[in-house]
Symmetry: C2
Subunit: 406 residues, 2 copies
C-alpha cells in the first residue's frame, strides 16, 4: 500500500509553486512557476534513481528501471500546468500519485518485470495556449510538431519560445514509443462521485468536445448620436447567440454543455459600438452524433443572428476532440484493482478532456477518478479528501504492479 | 471670410499625428501622439502671437489679445484627443477652426475689442480615461481636481502621471475664469444634417447620458463535467441583460440609446466558466425624465437576471451627465450668424457629449454642428466635406467677431 501522508504532503509542497492567496494555484504552462514545479518533481524522481527524457514538446518521462528493460514500460502521469485560477489537484494529483507508486516500490525494494514511467504532458489545460492537451496531442500524432510549437498565448509568445525560455525544449522525438499500458489518475472535476458517495470512478471514455472562436464584425459608430436602427452592433448578435446556445444545451439536457470562457471587444471604448467581438465557445456532449448536431446548429444560429443584425462573422475551429472509448483491457485492469482493494466504485465517462484522450489513440489507455468537493474544479477552491487521494493511488499501484509484472 | 483651403490642410497635417493605415486617427489622450499634436498646435498659435496657459488638468488656453484685455474673452475650442480607432475631425475640427478664426483676424489686421481664446480640453473622449470630458468637467467644478488627476487607464496609469510624462501638467488653477461667451464647433457624429441636406446645425442642448460598469460575479467551474443546472455563469445574465436593454431602447425609440463598448471576462480561460464579467454600459436619452426611467429599469433588469441565475452583481456609476440646455443668447448669436451667411440650418440637440456640456454650467455656451458622412463617427472612416468644414468655420467667425466686439 502507498503512503497516503507522504503523497498528501508532496501535493501540498507542489501547491506552493504558484500558490495563490485564495489557496489555489496559478502555475500556467511554461511559465517560471511551471519551470520550478517541473524541477522540483524531477529532483524527487532522481532521488529514487529515475532517469529523465524530455521531448521536443517539453513532455517529460521519468523512468524507473524494471528487471527486463527491453520490455515496453507501463506508464502513468498527467500534467503539472494549472488554470490561471486553478486548484491544487487538477493534473498534479496524477503526476504525484505516479511518483508515490515509484516511491512505494523503491522503499519496498520491489523491481517489477517491466520498467515504469511517469509522464508529465505539456500544456494540458489549454488555458495559456489553445488547444488543450497539445503536448500529448503532438505526441500521438493528432497535431504536427510544427503546429504544436507555434501555438501562441495572448501576448503572442509561442510554445517553442516559452519552452526555450524555461529550458525544457528537449531533443527526444515527440512521437509514440511502445507502451504496455497507460493509466491516468485524476480528480473527477464534476459532482457525480460525491453525490453517489463512492471514492472511485472507473472511467470508460471521454465525451466529445469542440472549441471555437466566434468572430463577429460590425461597424464602430458613436454611442450617442447614432440611431439604434442604423447600427451594425456585434453585441446584438453576441447576446442572441449566447442565449440560443444555452437553449441548445437545454434541448440536449442533461448531458450537453455550452460554455463561454472568454470574450474581447475591439476597440473596447465605452462610447463606441465595437468593430469586433471575439467569443470563445466550448460545446460538449458524450454522444458524438449529438455533438455533431450541436455543431451544425451552432453554425446555423450564428449565421441567422448575424444575418438578422447585418453583421459579418467567422467561426474559427480551435479544437475538435471527438468522443473516446478507452481500451477494454486497461479498463478491466482498473476495475479488478478497485475490487481487490474493496472500494465502492462507479463506471463513468469523463466530462473533461485529459491527456489519456490522445494517448488512447496509440497505446492502451484508461483512467480512474476520485471525487472532488462539490464537483468544483478550475477554481482556487478545488478540493479532495486525503482518504480519497490515498484510495485512488492504491488502486493505481495495484493495477500498475499487475501489468508491470505481466 | 475664413480660408477654407488653409483650414483643410491644417486638419490634414494634424491628422498625420497618430494617423492610421485605414486613414483614421489614434491620438488618445495624453499619449506621445497627443503631446506631438499639442505642440504642433501651440506652435501654430504662437506664430500669430498667441500666448499659452496650461492648467492643472492639462487644459490649454491660447489667447490672442484684444483692444481691451481687461474684458472677459470670447472662447472657442474642443479637444485634440481621439478614440483608439477614431477619425480626423471629431474634436480637432473645433480646435483648428478656432485657430483659423484667429489666423483670419490676424491676416486681416483686425483686433476685436475683447481677447479671443482657443481652448483645448483634456481627455474629452473618455476612451483612454473614464469618464469623458474630464478636463472641462474639473474646470467647471463637476469633478474635484483630485478625482480628475487620479483617473486611470486600463494599464493603471493615472491622468496625473500621464500629464507629467508628456510635460503638460500645468500650474494654472483648473477653475472657471470670466468668459463673455463660449462656442464649440463640431461634426454632428450622427446622420440628421446629412439626411436633411443642411450644412449647419444650431445646437440647443445635449442629451442626458449615463455610464456604468456592470460587474457580474459567478463561480468558476470546469466547462466539461459541470452540469448546466449547477452553474453560476455570469454569461447567462450578461446575454439576458444585453438583450433586455436593447428592448428597453426600442421601447423608448427612436431617441433612446443603449451601447456596450467594452467587456471583460475573468479569468478568461476557454474551459472555465468566468468568475466575473465586467460590461461597460452607456444609456442615453434627450429627455432627462425618460433617462431616469431607463436608469431605474436597467437596475431592475440587472437585479432580476442576476437573481434568476443565482449571481452576484454590482452597478458602478462611472458617469452621469444630465440633459443640458445651452444659453439662449449664445444660441441666438449662432442662429443670427448662420442667417447672415445664408446657409440652410436645423435647430437640434446633440447625441454626443461635448466639453460645452460642462462649460455651459458656468459660462454662456452654445455649439454648431456640420454634417459628417453617413453619420459615422468614432470610426477611422469618419469624414466631412471641405465645403461644410468651411461653412461651419465662417459661421463661427461671424458669431465670435460680433460678440468679441460687444
Ligand atoms: N482536465 C482538464 O481540465 N482538461 C482540460 C481540457 C478540457 O477542457 O476538458
Ligand atoms: N463627442 C464625443 O465623442 N464625446 C465623447 C463623449 C460621449 O460619449 O458622448
Amino acid at each position: 500500500a502507498i503512503n497516503g501522508e507522504r503523497l498528501w504532503s508532496t501535493l501540498m509542497e507542489m501547491a506552493q509553486i504558484g500558490g495563490t492567496a485564495k489557496g489555489g494555484c496559478n502555475r500556467q504552462a511554461l511559465t517560471d512557476e511551471d519551470k520550478i514545479g517541473r524541477e522540483l518533481f524531477i529532483g524527487w524522481c532522481k532521488d529514487i534513481g529515475c532517469t529523465l527524457r524530455v521531448d521536443q514538446m517539453g513532455n517529460m518521462f521519468l523512468r524507473m528501471a524494471g528487471q527486463d528493460n527491453s520490455l515496453a514500460p507501463v506508464i502513468t502521469g498527467s500534467h503539472l500546468d494549472t488554470q490561471p485560477t486553478g486548484g491544487k489537484f487538477d493534473g498534479v494529483y496524477g503526476v504525484l500519485a505516479g511518483l508515490e507508486v515509484l516511491r512505494t516500490l523503491h522503499d519496498a525494494g520491489i523491481t517489477p518485470l517491466r520498467p515504469i514511467e511517469v509522464a508529465v504532458w505539456t500544456n494540458e489545460e489549454g488555458a495559456r495556449f489553445s488547444p488543450a492537451m497539445v503536448g500529448s496531442g503532438v505526441w500521438c500524432g493528432e497535431f504536427d510538431l510544427e503546429y504544436g510549437l507555434s501555438r501562441t498565448d495572448k501576448q503572442g509568445v509561442s510554445i517553442k519560445e516559452a519552452l526555450e525560455k524555461i529550458g525544457f525544449l528537449g531533443d527526444e522525438p515527440c512521437k509514440p514509443f511502445p507502451v504496455k499500458a497507460a493509466f491516468e489518475l485524476h480528480i473527477e472535476q464534476g459532482p457525480i462521485l460525491e453525490s453517489l458517495e463512492k471514492p472511485i470512478g472507473v472511467v470508460k471514455g471521454v465525451q466529445g468536445m469542440r472549441w471555437y472562436d466566434l468572430i463577429i464584425d460590425g461597424q464602430p459608430v458613436h454611442a450617442g448620436p447614432t440611431p439604434m436602427e442604423q447600427r451594425r452592433d456585434p453585441f446584438m448578435a453576441q447576446s442572441a447567440i449566447v442565449t440560443e446556445l444555452y437553449a441548445l444545451a437545454a434541448e440536449y439536457s442533461p448531458l450537453a454543455r455550452a460554455t463561454f470562457g472568454d470574450i474581447k471587444a475591439e476597440p473596447g471604448s465605452r462610447n463606441t459600438v465595437p468593430a469586433r467581438i471575439t467569443l470563445a465557445v466550448d460545446l460538449r456532449h458524450p454522444d458524438q452524433t449529438i455533438l455533431d448536431e450541436m455543431d451544425a446548429k451552432f453554425r446555423e444560429i450564428a449565421k441567422n443572428a448575424c444575418e438578422k443584425f447585418n453583421l459579418d462573422f467567422e467561426i474559427k475551429d480551435e479544437w475538435n476532440s471527438p468522443a473516446v472509448e478507452f481500451d477494454k483491457t486497461c479498463v478491466d485492469a482498473m476495475r479488478e484493482s478497485v475490487q481487490e482493494k474493496g472500494y465502492a466504485f462507479e463506471e463513468m465517462f469523463s466530462g473533461a478532456g485529459h491527456d489519456s484522450v490522445y494517448t488512447s489513440r496509440v497505446i492502451p489507455t484508461s483512467m480512474i477518478f476520485i471525487p472532488c468537493e462539490k464537483g468544483i474544479s478550475h477554481n482556487e477552491a478545488e478540493n479532495a479528501t486525503p482518504e480519497d487521494i490515498e484510495a485512488g493511488c492504491n488502486v493505481l499501484l495495484g493495477a500498475m504492479l499487475k501489468v508491470a509484472n505481466s
